[in-house]
């Protein structure tokens, strides 16, 4: 049985001005047979992935999606078929050399516990014989990219980090030698929902900056819809059932199988398709931590706001005290509110609603590049979107 899935014609989502550093991937009749098993684990898969796109592999467990992913960096050798990265046929290349050019992220980061964060991130550059200064500079650059202060985290050991931080280091390590391709094998499967959502936002932000070709295996369809430019739905033997944009898969599932997999409640799934950045955000009064409270209070009253978003020195939101609270302090407090509900511009309305509910707040703070403040979104905005999609569904 042969299944051919050409790259969907619905052109790359990447806008013309987006920077793309990835290369296309082409699989040609890739098959994996294990001795003693009648059915091949991966059966004659032909697939094209465009440069700079994030393609999500979804499907039931045991469908061969992880096997297919691992054949891309030849952790599993294909029984037959060819694999092309860019213009190169890499099927017979030296596997170790090949893998140094492909970033690989697994659950919990797969960090080496006996090496510091810096050493972990610097592994591939060192294998590629970069000089010390270049490696050190790259480590700091990458830690900064994934939102970890290099001075604080460079010399820590993985066990001194939270699950989410370990995962960030895992992403930094995979990006170390600036590979054009990033393979991610259920990377966010082991963290709690709130952390997972932040990591997803982070990945979207990084991808917007770097434009890698990302292949991402997940069992979470919402994650696929949120992160993917395209989604591949697999059935047993890695049969490609549908390969399309999230919007079209949700709107027109190719088979009942896909419809079942997507799940009921497709109306609310539309919440997963709308990004926070797509709706109107409210601009609010801000104040830098440590500045005089009186100024902030005056500004807020002038603008008619009843709360103020406090930013740290790097412009990142850390808390949102009410005006009444601020009048009681001389300077704007420096304390970081751990429960501050934050989402990114590329988060979905679904994420935003989740975050509000988890924090019991009527709104969320929205951050953009490098975690800087982009605005605030109120629960009413989400409600309006739900109303709209219900009306559309009814009509």
């Amino acid at each position: 049985m042969s299944e051919t899935a050409p790259a969907p014609s619905a052109g790359p989502v990447a806008a013309g001005d987006r920077h793309i550093s990835g290369v296309p991937i082409r699989l040609d009749g890739v098959t994996k047979r294990y001795p003693g098993q009648e059915q091949p684990a991966v059966d004659d898969v032909t697939l094209e992935i465009a440069a700079g796109e994030t393609v999500m592999f979804v499907g039931p467990s045991g469908c061969g999606k992880t096997t297919l992913l691992k054949m891309l960096n030849r952790l599993i050798e294909p029984t037959s078929g060819r694999i092309h990265l860019g213009d190169e046929d890499v099927t017979d290349q030296d596997a170790d050399q090949l893998r140094r050019r492909i970033g690989y992220v697994i659950q919990a980061g797969g960090l080496f516990p006996h090496m510091t964060v810096g050493t972990n991130v610097g592994m591939v550059p060192r294998m590629l014989k970069w000089d010390k200064e270049r490696t050190a500079a790259r480590i700091d650059e990458l830690l900064d990219l994934v939102g970890l202060d290099p001075a604080v985290y460079r010399d820590r050991y993985p066990r001194e980090l939270s699950g989410g931080q370990q995962q960030r280091v895992g992403v930094a390590r995979a990006l170390a030698a600036d590979p054009p391709i990033l393979l991610m094998d259920e990377p966010f499967g082991a963290v709690d929902p709130i952390t997972r959502q932040r990591l997803q936002d982070e990945l979207l932000r990084i991808q917007e900056e770097l434009g890698k070709t990302i292949v991402f295996v997940t069992h979470d369809f919402d994650e696929a819809v949120k992160l993917g430019d395209k989604i591949v739905v697999f059935d047993v033997g890695a049969r490609v059932v549908q390969y399309d944009t999230p919007e079209r898969i949700l709107a027109e599932p190719a088979e009942d199988y896909v419809a079942d997999f997507v799940g009921a409640g497709a109306t609310l799934k539309q919440l997963t398709l709308t990004r926070v950045g797509d709706v109107d955000l409210v601009q609010v009064t801000t104040a830098v931590a440590g500045s005089p409270s009186a100024e902030a209070v005056a500004a807020a009253r002038a603008a008619g706001d009843d709360f103020v978003v406090v930013l740290d020195a790097r412009g990142r939101p850390i808390s949102w005290p009410t005006v009444a609270e601020l009048t009681r302090t001389a300077t704007v407090p420096q304390t970081v509110d751990e429960r501050l509900p934050v989402v990114g511009l590329r988060s979905t309305l679904n994420d935003a609603l989740d975050t509000m509910l988890a924090a019991s707040q009527g709104g969320v703070v929205v951050t953009g590049r490098r975690d800087g403040l982009a605005g605030v979104m109120a629960v009413e905005t989400v409600m309006a979107a739900i109303q709209r999609s219900r009306t559309e569904a009814a009509g």
């Binding site: 960096n73 952790l75 170790d96 050399q97 090949l98 893998r99 140094r100 050019r101 492909i102 970033g103 690989y104 697994i106 659950q107 919990a108 980061g109 797969g110 960090l111 080496f112 516990p113 006996h114 090496m115 510091t116 592994m123 591939v124 294998m127 050991y157 993985p158 066990r159 390590r173 995979a174 393979l183």
Partner: protein, 271 residues
Amino acid sequence: MTAAPEVRAGDAPEPAPAEETARHADPSAAGGGGWRALLLQPALVVLGVVAFLVWRLTADLSDTEARQLGWAVLGDSIREHLALTAVAAVIVLLIAIPLGIALTRRPLRRLSPLVVGIANTGQAAPAIGLFVLLATWLGFGFGTTVVALVVYAALPVLRNTMVGIEGVDARLVEAGRGMGMSALAVLLRVELPLAVPVLLAGVRTALVLLVGTATLATFIDGGGLGVLINTGITLSLDSLLISGAVLVALLALAVDWLGRLVEHVARPKGL
């Protein structure tokens, strides 16, 4: 002589994991209890040595006893004992660690249950039986003793090398290969460093086993502190017997402590 903890991995699936915890209670105790636990043991050893010296200098000894417990004779016995232990230990490390590594590599991995099974069965053999059987074949003396000691002490090192390497999270190995490390690089930079605590626990076990088992050397003319005990038993001279026994026990404790110290220092940071 068999009086040392042994690590049994692989047989009987259900107790195995629990047993592992039980065994590696030592390294974790050294890690958790920290330096205080590490200081108690040498204190005990020093106390024992001082007590022995005081007794030796003040005791009223017969001629035979005084001759056997003369400083030169004592020194020779201790040196012999240490030589037996050290030579056997070096050979054990040279054989068991590479073999243990080889048995975790893909081509030989299928053989590992067989090798561990044979080794476990061999471990059930009484040390004294092994000494005597080897002596009927190789004759008496230092060489035979070393052979017997090596056969006897290789197992804990072999087993812990394998358990240590197999205990490394498979995902870390995959992460290493996935970022382009060669199989050798993964072994040297990931698997072996992470196996160090378990491996060293096995080495310490083997060393303690060696010190104890070397007392049996006296039966096949291999020398060492066992001679004192044996002479004490045959001549009914309690002072010799107890001197030998106490010195061996102190030596074993000291070696055990050194092993723990090395484990404490060599434990990879970050674990």
